[in-house]
């Protein structure tokens, strides 16, 4: 007779078996602290979104889609002096709404969406990093929606999401001052602490501190910065920021090539 699901109840909460495993600690392999994992980036792959991008760096896979400009909800009336270059006055500027989501199977433990505070925090970090780059003054009373979906977390997820979001915005044809490139770092604990560029999930889990930097490469301006942990004195953090900015500059040519390829594909597919 099949199990009686009404009388035989399983436990209320479920946990993965790894929690009870006897410490099989795999140490992350020693590596060059300034190595960047090879990146695969492709823009313009979703048919329903205005602009989209997929970024894969090591085990981290992020998919980002942009829709807009759409009419903003909650009309705001405003006047005031117009900005330079034919931009709308400050009160009528466009809005950027960012959403960051983790797929339930992206990490070691299953996390049902909505993920709560952490996803909201990362969505806010995305918004704060992308706003300096997007010319919102050219989209008065409109809103741009950026949604990033993390398919698999293999380390430096926020940095990958930032880069994918910037690519998706560029693919959508949104006017921008510059691309935003993100880079993750982590600080190893122990006798000789070093900052590692572009950490893997294992390195991130064992890290004493982690940092994500977002740079606009051509303008050389830092668009976003989010770091926490026991990183040590300010000199250590300053060194980490420098390393991160260098990593962002190195990543930039890959993204340029990706956008050029996407534009070519779009041109070839367009009917004559």
């Amino acid at each position: 007779m099949p199990g009686d699901h009404r009388r035989i109840r399983g436990p209320e909460e479920s946990q993965p078996p790894q929690l009870y495993a006897v410490g099989e600690d795999e140490e992350p392999a020693a590596r060059d602290p300034t190595r960047l994992r090879p990146v695969y980036a492709r823009a313009g792959l979703l048919s329903q979104a205005k602009g989209s991008a997929y970024l894969e760096a090591g085990g981290t896979k992020v998919l980002c889609a942009v829709s807009g400009p759409l009419q903003a909800e909650g009309g705001e009336r405003g006047g005031g002096p117009a900005g330079t270059g034919g931009e709308a006055p400050a009160a009528l500027r466009g809005r950027l709404l960012c959403d960051f989501r983790r797929a339930p199977f992206s990490g070691r433990r299953r996390r049902a969406p909505p993920g709560g505070g952490e996803e909201r925090e990362l969505a806010l970090a995305l918004q704060e990093a992308l706003e300096p780059a997007v010319r919102l003054g050219r989209y008065p009373r409109a809103q741009l929606e950026v949604s990033a979906l993390l398919l698999e977390d293999g380390g430096s997820a926020l940095a990958a999401a930032l880069t994918a979001a910037a690519l998706a915005l560029a693919d959508a044809g949104i006017e921008m001052y510059d691309l935003v490139v993100g880079c993750g770092l982590s600080h190893t604990p122990g006798p000789s602490p070093t900052w590692l560029l572009d950490p893997t999930l294992l390195e991130e889990e064992r890290a004493a501190a982690s940092l994500t930097v977002a740079l606009m490469p051509v303008l050389n301006q830092v668009a976003g910065l989010l770091g926490s942990g026991e990183g040590g004195p300010t000199e250590s953090w300053a060194e980490a920021v420098r390393l991160g900015l260098e990593g962002c500059q190195r990543l930039y040519p890959v993204l340029q090539q990706c956008l050029v390829r996407a534009a070519r594909r779009r041109g070839a597919a367009a009917p004559p």
Binding site: Q221, E230, T234
Partner: protein
């Protein structure tokens, strides 16, 4: 954050003044406004504090409750933060308006306490895997006058310093059933060590210089700020860029140095004030909040 409508002329006045190291109220770029800190203002909590920084008024209450430890950390207690931006602070927070800001501040607090050094969580454990102390830190924003993060972090540190957790023992019967015993003496408590609790210093970039402790008007002139959480020893536990604008890498390094310098001074004065207040004991005259 509450916004203030400023005319272009006022903005230019503030920006030009800051370039000369002179702010509208006469302070220098690295000076804080007058801070009033008072602990033990709410009697139903395990610890509380009120901080008044210019026009910013914060009330923090800490309640210690027993619960089960998290699965990944069975030997430690933990802290839960909740920030309530009440509608009294500014009309923008009416209804659900203040929820976003509240979530942002709570997430920042989680981030700065998310490392082993800040608070000794092992002292909050009663029996591993079964019982631990959970400290619910509730922050109430009574009035918003600029520079919320700094005031909140000072208030949280003061409230944690004031927290008294009753001493509890777990007794085991012959049958194996556990019983929790609270000590009879109401003054027999555990006190937390707040030596390494960090304080947030927000540095707002205005023109080419940066200012500490910005008022609402100065925040309206600044496009980007850097939030640095510094401990009393100068160790940075959290860094975050806030705002719509971008920052030059060189200014980030300068702002970090200023943050560390200002943070150390802030910590020494806060520590001396808290110790002085505690040494006065029950004879201390209480002012209370909104007073």
């Amino acid at each position: 954050m509450a916004s203030v409508a400023l005319s272009e002329a006022e903005k230019v006045y503030i920006v030009h003044g800051v370039q000369e190291d002179l702010r509208v109220d006469g302070r220098g770029c690295e000076d804080y406004r007058c801070v009033e800190v008072e602990t033990d203002v709410v009697s139903n909590t395990s610890g509380s504090a009120r901080v008044k920084l210019g026009h910013t008024d914060i009330l923090v209450g800490v309640k210690a409750e027993m619960g089960t430890p998290k699965l990944e950390k069975p030997n430690e207690g933990y802290l839960e933060f909740f920030v309530d931006c009440s509608a009294n602070a500014t009309p923008e927070f009416e209804g659900r308006g203040g929820d976003d800001l509240g979530m942002e501040i709570a997430n920042t607090l989680y981030r700065i306490f998310n490392n082993k050094g800040s608070i000794d969580l092992k002292s909050l454990c009663i029996s591993p895997r079964e019982h631990c102390w959970i400290l619910y830190v509730d922050v109430l924003l009574l009035e918003c006058g600029g520079n919320l993060f700094d005031a909140i972090s000072i208030a949280v540190k003061a409230a944690l310093f004031n927290t008294r957790i009753p001493r509890v023992r777990v007794l085991e019967d012959e049958e194996g059933s556990k019983d929790i015993e609270l000590s009879d003496d109401p003054y027999d408590c555990i006190q937390l060590s707040v030596e390494n609790v960090p304080c947030i210093v927000t540095l707002c970039k205005i023109g080419y210089r940066h200012v500490v402790d910005a008022t609402l008007q100065e925040e309206a002139c600044s496009l980007a700020s850097l939030l640095v959480a510094v401990t009393s020893k100068g160790v940075v536990t959290c860094m975050r860029k806030v705002g719509k604008g971008s920052l030059d890498p060189e200014s980030i390094f300068e702002m970090m140095e200023t943050g560390k310098r200002v943070g150390k001074v802030l910590h020494t004065s806060l520590q001396s004030l808290l110790h002085k207040e505690e040494s006065l004991g029950p004879k201390r005259q209480k002012v209370g909040f909104l007073g």
